[in-house]
């Protein structure tokens, strides 16, 4: 009995450890295939979006060895954890515990890597948001008292990260999903949002395929819509007050950005000659309502997933977003989704982001077709 409890706790801890990877781990690996490998490292491939170790493992069916690929977190996260490309070197003996690839290939997701020589666990990543200050700090403001959303020029650098939720579901619902939006129970799908029948069926199809078709990871498509505020590497606002626009730099978005116009223009005619071309980030116009920036975005294309977990949308999607910096370290994000092409009514959600001080936005570059 104690063994079962210990094993269950271990599995839960291991599952919890898979929190930083840039895509749904279960899209490629099967958590019902726990695997332990012991062998010698032949190559360290230290590149985003995932670092890999290659190792020779004794062939259980013969006298030779088999080469296995061990997939790890991103280089950005590993470096945040204090590791570098020399933490493990070719020739090191290691033991890896993880889960094997669904397709039966010799690949494993490395939950734990232990150096045989020292018994030390390495290349592990623990994500923790910055500790909240003991006293809430006041909202930084421009000289006209309008709140600042971005870094203070010549002063404090920083960006918004660690969203309090990384999955989008209608406010008031509490549905169990993992960090990438994979439902624990697919029967909960209809409760996530008020989807039309075709959208619900498509959402279920994406879920049943473990989100492996996510175009953000398969084809480096930008994380348009609300998704940009639920990703691992955060966002940074650059406020160009002179030209009355705000740039939203997207840390997980392959170094691309979104423009929010605050000069009173409409959605049409933002880019000369390009009025009818739907965009990944849509066309956003905004105004300040007290301390809240209210953004109205429309004109999205249908070439991307606007949420983790694969909720569908159409070109009729309109987003009403409200950004409120409630104190120095907290950004409240509220969104109303209005898409009569995919949903039966408009619906809302919201979460908060944390200020990550004294750091630049992580620079993550997607590399198409690279695992």
């Amino acid at each position: 009995m104690r063994f079962i409890a210990t094993a269950t706790l271990t599995l839960l801890l291991l599952a919890g450890a898979r929190i930083a990877a840039h895509h749904e781990i279960l899209a490629k690996f099967d958590d019902k295939k726990p695997t332990t490998l012991s062998g010698v490292v032949t190559l360290v491939d230290w590149r985003n979006p995932h670092a890999h170790l290659f190792m020779n493992v004794k062939d259980p069916k013969g006298t030779g060895v088999l080469n296995w690929a061990v997939e790890l977190e991103s280089v950005i996260d590993l470096q945040d954890g204090g590791w570098n490309r020399d933490t493990v070197k070719a020739g090191d003996s290691i033991t890896v515990k993880g889960i094997a690839a669904r397709d039966g290939s010799r690949q494993v997701w490395g939950d734990s890597v232990v150096l045989t020589a020292t018994g030390r666990r390495v290349l592990n990543v623990t994500l923790t948001p910055p500790p909240p200050p003991l006293q809430p700090r006041p909202v930084p403001r421009w000289s006209d008292k309008q709140p600042r959303l971005g870094p203070i020029p010549g002063g404090v650098q920083g960006y918004w990260g660690f969203p309090s939720s990384t999955v989008l579901m209608e406010a008031g619902t509490n549905i169990k999903m993992d960090a990438w939006g994979l439902l624990a129970n697919i029967a909960d799908a209809p409760k996530v949002a008020p989807m039309q029948p075709w959208a619900l069926a498509l959402y279920k199809n994406r879920q049943s395929r473990f989100l492996q078709d996510d175009p953000m990871y398969l084809n480096c498509k930008p994380p348009g819509g609300a998704r940009q505020f639920q990703l691992r590497y955060g966002v940074q606002f650059v406020e160009d007050r002179e030209r009355q626009r705000i740039f939203v730099l997207v840390g997980s978005g392959n170094s691309n950005y979104r423009i929010i116009y605050t000069d009173g223009r409409g959605h049409a005619g933002q880019v000369g000659g390009d009025d009818d071309n739907p965009l990944y980030y849509g066309r956003a116009v905004a105004k300040w309502e007290g301390d809240t920036l209210a953004v109205d975005t429309r004109g999205f294309n249908e070439d991307f997933w606007f949420t983790n977990g694969g909720l569908p949308h159409t070109e009729q999607l309109k987003l009403l977003e409200r950004f409120t910096r409630t104190d120095f370290d907290t950004l409240k994000y509220e969104v109303t989704i209005d898409d009569p092409g995919a949903y039966t009514r408009s619906w809302s959600s919201g979460w908060t982001l944390r200020w990550v001080a004294n750091e630049e936005l992580p620079r993550h570059l997607c590399q198409e077709n690279r695992p």
């Binding site: 075709w198 199809n205 949308h313 159409t314 009729q316 995919a342």
Partner: protein, 131 residues
């Protein structure tokens, strides 16, 4: 002349490697190209354009001078069953086409619809692939 041929081949190669546009919205929306006919050997080209306004599927079969507007187009998500109809006319009189098929490869941008068609004169099979 050789330079023109080289230029033509270069442009053709560029067009060939242009990735197909993804389409993550309504599964029927887009341009579908394929064939219809009594058999695989004896078939004609078929082009269907479909769109979705949130309530109904609309579109056109073989856009051009003799195009046929889509009628009664539906998508049943249970099994991804597709149905559409079209009314044409020739010297012999009206022709009422009815297509019934199923989407394959739903998750992929180049998903396909295959099935059967019939009219008041003949029938056959069709296959369309999203472009």
């Amino acid at each position: 002349m050789r330079r023109q041929i080289a230029l033509f081949l270069f442009i053709a190669a560029c067009l060939l490697i242009t990735p197909a546009r993804a389409q993550e919205g309504h599964p029927l929306k887009g341009s579908w190209i394929g064939t219809w006919g009594p058999s695989k050997v004896h078939s004609n080209d078929l082009l269907v354009i479909m769109s979705w306004d949130g309530k109904a599927v609309s579109g056109t079969i073989n856009p051009g001078t003799d195009d046929i507007p889509l009628k009664n187009a539906t998508l049943n998500p249970e099994g991804w069953v597709v149905h559409f109809e079209g009314e044409a006319k020739d010297k012999a009189g009206p022709i009422n086409y009815v297509f019934d098929g199923k989407i394959d490869g739903l998750a992929f941008h180049n998903r396909s619809i295959s099935g059967t068609w019939k009219s008041n004169r003949e029938s056959g099979q069709f296959k369309l692939q999203r472009q």
